[in-house]
């Protein structure tokens, strides 16, 4: 069953928290992974792989560079689930 955007955001926030110790409330739709959340490329790939598992989607490597903000990732996952 497809998750709602709120559920995807909450799930992503949990993944980011476990990877970086950032508080879940800091993970907001308008935040940039690199600029605001200071997530490096290795952590980003870890987050992508864990999101794929959590939401049963595929995020090809060449799409990862387009996921600049948390909102981009939520939208991508929502679309991929549909």
């Amino acid at each position: 069953m497809a998750a709602t955007n709120e559920e995807i955001l909450a799930g992503l926030a949990e993944i980011v928290n476990e990877e970086t110790d950032l508080p879940v409330e800091d993970v907001q739709l308008d935040k940039s992974f690199t600029e605001d959340l200071d997530i490096d490329s290795i952590s980003m790939m870890t987050i992508v792989v864990e999101a794929e598992t959590k939401f049963s989607v595929t995020i090809p490597d060449d799409q990862v560079k387009n996921l600049k903000t948390v909102g981009d990732a939520v939208s991508y996952i929502a679309k991929a689930q549909a």
Binding site: N17, E18, E19, T20, D21, I42, M45, T46, V49, T53
Partner: protein, 411 residues
Amino acid sequence: MAKTVVVTGLGATTPIGGDVASSWAAALAGTSGARTLTEDWVEKYSLPVTFAARALVPAAEVLSKAEIKRNDPSVQFALVASREAFKDAGLDEAEIDHDRLGVSFATGIGGLNTLLDAWDVLREKGPRRVLPMTVPMLMPNAPSGALSLEFGARAAARTPVSACASGTEALAIAQEMIRSGKADIVIAGGCEAAIHPITMASFASMQALSRRNDDPAHASRPYDLDRDGFVMGEGAGALILESEEHAKARGAKIYAELAGTGLSADAFHITAPDAEGLGATRALRETMVDGNFEASDVVHVNAHATSTPVGDIPEGVALRAAFGSHMDNVPVSATKSQTGHLLGGAGAIEAVFTVLALHERTAPLTINLERQDPAVELDVVTSTRAIGPGVAVSNSFGFGGHNAVAAFRSV
């Protein structure tokens, strides 16, 4: 004139305590860290040995979620012990010259759990699920790299790997970094987190592990006639080593001097010690020259003594060859009787115990010694014993024929 190297901070997480104070109190009381393993793999693979000495305080109780996730368990222990040592030394990150801060941190086996967990993931779920941090987590220099990052240590970050001699070799390398003028301060020590069905099966196959499954607390019994092998341990020890002039200039407390170190190799057999202890004797003699002390200065030895039938004997022979009849007067402690064998972490936590023994003038206990093997001609400490000021020696010997000795002098 070579620089004098001193110890200004201590840190540890061991099977008998989550920090230095609790580990030391347990070591003086006589405490076994060995317990029956509760993991399902013990039964699943019908392992012949069902116990080990896990760290008393799991790293997950001390570190953050991300620190646990992004670091191999061996590195987690290294972080716990090194943070304690750094704080104990009273170092202020804002004030030290980071270009002159070094790391020399050992492991015997490295990121075994990370490697084998990733192998399971690959086989069960495919390559996409193998996390990108896998290689930087499993590499043997992961502990020294992580500590360099943690404390901003930029002089150099070294990783000696010499099996069970690694932790002591790390002290020798740190000493050299300070004596040569490359660093003022070095975070030195060793860590291990290698309790895994593979290591348990392999060490059991070579008959190296005790099989006292019904009584783990009495399994590690160095020098006892009924010893039947070592007990796998895990954890880390860390020492802040510093040039004496740097330590004095900042008004640091000084536990002891790292007087000297000695290294040698047996070139005899990949796992067995040479029965006459010739390699160990050479390392001990080198330490005396390096540390500028005589046999008569030695007041305490923390022995390698792992509790294996063949391993415990040649060390006594070597100590007598190096220090002569003075060994009649030297209290010897075998703290692996309490902690089990931390492999690459062993030399580090035993160095912490040796420094504390000198500083507190008390030798820690050897437990489970009921009938001493007559082939071991040593005065083994089984009840609280005061020691005088002088030099205390810690020995470590590893598979591969590596011998490493560190000698500390009281201040």
